[in-house]
């Protein structure tokens, strides 16, 4: 799993987001027009693609796309 692929999947899922806008150091709450529904969309995407379930605590503990990526990568069985 590479971070570019992770970013591509997120950009594809959030269709109103401009392609290429996300980078590993992007603060996802700022870039992604963050709200509780977008949180669910992200959780569903990560579960479907990587079989990893992000919790509310996981999201609170993460700030950048790279934080999320690292977390998901550490949990992939």
């Amino acid at each position: 799993m590479i971070i570019e692929e992770f970013i591509q999947k997120i950009e594809a899922e959030f269709s109103d987001m401009e392609q290429g806008i996300l980078h590993s150091e992007s603060v996802f709450r700022e870039v992604m027009n963050w709200n509780s529904i977008n949180a669910l969309i992200l959780i569903a995407l990560v579960d479907t693609e990587y079989d990893v379930i992000l919790t509310a605590d996981d999201l609170r503990a993460s700030s950048t796309i790279n934080d999320l990526f690292t977390l998901v990568q550490s949990r992939i069985s």
Partner: protein, 367 residues
């Protein structure tokens, strides 16, 4: 492990009732229009029905049951057993099922009680009533399942207000020595009790004067302590983690494949959640009907209401193999593999608007 089965019992009739008053989430101006659209498209709830303060869950269940009795040509005097599954009973006590026994003309020789479960309630209700009927001593049971959840949500709480609708349903279960077996997988996890809860009003936290005061519990969310609290992400996590494995274990235990079933009726809570579960189970979209868009989350009524609303013709005309799966408040969840054999199923009934003001418009900001 609660992997259990029932013999010699079948569903013979099913009816559902909703209030006439419809609320459209496009009108929910507490949140900006773009967010409303995102909510409607993602969670899936556009319209829902609200009972107001003059119609109770039991009124809707009774209306559904009376319609069903007339279509099935059976009399209340034939009923041996009444179970009312609901979190919105008529009175703190006694049980609503007993009140209904009298109101509906069901004999005093019947037994009647309530089960206060929510999202998982229809599946649990089928198991409990089926277990009681399968010996053949009780022949005919009336399973009344429904909720008025809109009474418990705060208009100023966008994490709950747009999600729920009201409904009451009625199912007739009968003893039949030739009925196919019904298989269940039932589970509980009380560690998650707070995720969906009403904190005050019970004996743990007696009602106090300030229980009714609206408070800002987090930015943009105001509710009082008699109103529903819902931790969306926690419930979402729970459902993604538990529902598909629960169904897979059930299927493995009865040596069935996911494709052996005609329809999967999931509790209607959240389209994104149910679609994620559907993909985990590799089910075709046409096997998974939805009523979220027109009725919202109707708590324990959502499975029977979706059956009546979406697969009524198939239920009446065909023999079907179904998986029903309810999951949520408790946390409590369960699935059932059940075959139906041309059951009586009238169209969704509307309970006429009794002319009161719907409580959502009584907004008082005490902060």
């Amino acid at each position: 492990m609660a992997i259990v089965n029932i013999e010699k019992v079948k569903i013979t009739g099913l009816a559902a009732c909703v209030p006439q008053f419809e609320y459209n989430n496009n009108d929910y101006d507490l949140i900006p229009p773009a967010e409303r659209t995102l909510l409607i498209n993602t969670i899936g709830v556009e319209k829902r029905r609200m009972a107001g303060s003059k119609i109770t869950t039991s009124d809707m269940c009774q209306k559904a049951a009376e319609k069903l009795f007339s279509e099935m040509n059976i009399s209340p005097s034939e009923i041996d057993l009444v179970i009312f599954v609901s979190q919105s009973r008529d009175y703190i006590l006694p049980c609503t099922a007993i009140v209904l026994q009298n109101k509906m003309g069901i004999p005093m020789t019947s037994l009647a009680f309530d089960i206060p479960l929510g999202c998982s309630g229809y599946v649990y209700g089928l198991y409990i009533m089926g277990s009681m009927i399968q010996k053949g001593q009780l022949k005919k049971g009336l399973l009344l399942v429904g909720d008025i959840s809109t009474m418990s949500t705060s208009y100023l709480d966008p994490s709950t207000f747009p999600l729920f609708g009201d409904s009451g349903t009625a199912t007739v279960l009968e003893y039949d020595p030739n009925a196919e077996q019904i298989f269940f997988n039932l589970q509980s996890d009380g560690s998650g009790w707070e995720a969906i809860s009403i904190p005050e009003g019970g004996t743990r936290n007696f009602p106090k004067e300030d229980s009714f005061i609206l408070k800002e519990v987090m930015p943009g969310i105001k509710r009082n302590r008699f109103q529903l609290h819902l931790s969306g992400i926690d419930v979402f996590n729970f459902s993604l983690r538990e529902v598909a494995p629960n169904i897979k274990v059930l299927l493995a235990n009865i040596s069935k494949d996911a494709n052996d079933f005609d329809f999967y009726l999931f509790h209607q809570a959240n389209k994104l959640m149910n679609e994620t579960i559907r993909k985990k189970l590799k089910l075709a979209p046409e096997k998974v009907p939805y009523t979220l868009q027109k009725y919202g989350n109707t708590s324990c009524a959502s499975i029977p209401l979706t059956m009546v609303s979406e697969i009524r013709n198939e239920l009446q005309e065909k023999n079907l193999s179904l998986i029903l799966s309810g999951f949520g408040v408790g946390l409590s969840w369960g699935s059932v593999a059940i075959k139906t054999d041309k059951i009586v199923c009238p169209e969704v009934i509307e309970y006429p608007n009794l002319g009161d003001k719907i409580p959502l418009f009584k907004i008082t900001d005490n902060t």
